[in-house]
Amino acid sequence: MSFSVKSEIKENVAIVTMAGDLDSSTAPQLHEEIKKVVQENPKELVLCVEELNFMASAGMRVIIFAKQKLGSAASLILVKPQEQVHETLRMTGLLHSITIVDKYPE
């Protein structure tokens, strides 16, 4: 199984789309992409995760890192996480700081 990630920034919104399995071997790829986009100080970070089949804590640490870099004024949006990924985010308390939507833009 593999992982892929790409990003774009449009009008102050960073959109990061990922697919596959996000574990400790693939999280560094997401980390690099996030580092790149947070440098542009987006007001919104949108993570498109519909095709993400697995997320371990290594992936969550990257999301926490992203939010810490962005600061509380920027919003973090997750688009259509699969049920099990959603559940893991809930178990680790990440949902308090993330907005989940079915599609973006809504």
Partner: protein, 148 residues
Amino acid sequence: MENDTESKKFKATLDSLSSIREYVTEQASKAGIDKNRIYKLCLAVDEIATNIINYGYLRSGIKNAHVQAIITKNAKHFSVVLEDTAPPFNPFERELPNDEELNKPLEERPIGGLGIMLAKDSVDEFRYEYKNSTNRNIFRINICNEDT
């Protein structure tokens, strides 16, 4: 109770994580365990395998090491045991985030400890033992039988 056991050895590198998950998924599917519980079992195994590879072996400078995954099935339980020969590491001695920390805004949260917490919360039983110079992390799920 009759036990059915098999095992597979994996190189202790992060690239093995997906193969370990595939192996657990394949065996658990054969045992008729539902997809949601397989996902959680894989998550638990993945988190601990990551710690073994990163902290047990890599940080100790141990090369060419392996992690053994042993699967045991019987009518009541499905278990995965991860065995490694890295220095003893008891995940239960690690401090985990408490509820207060988990409820903090992400900007103020400490970043560590989530993996072991997920491992514990994702299976019916998670145990650790150190025997014969081997770390053994034991994950067990109860097999639900609607007839009983």
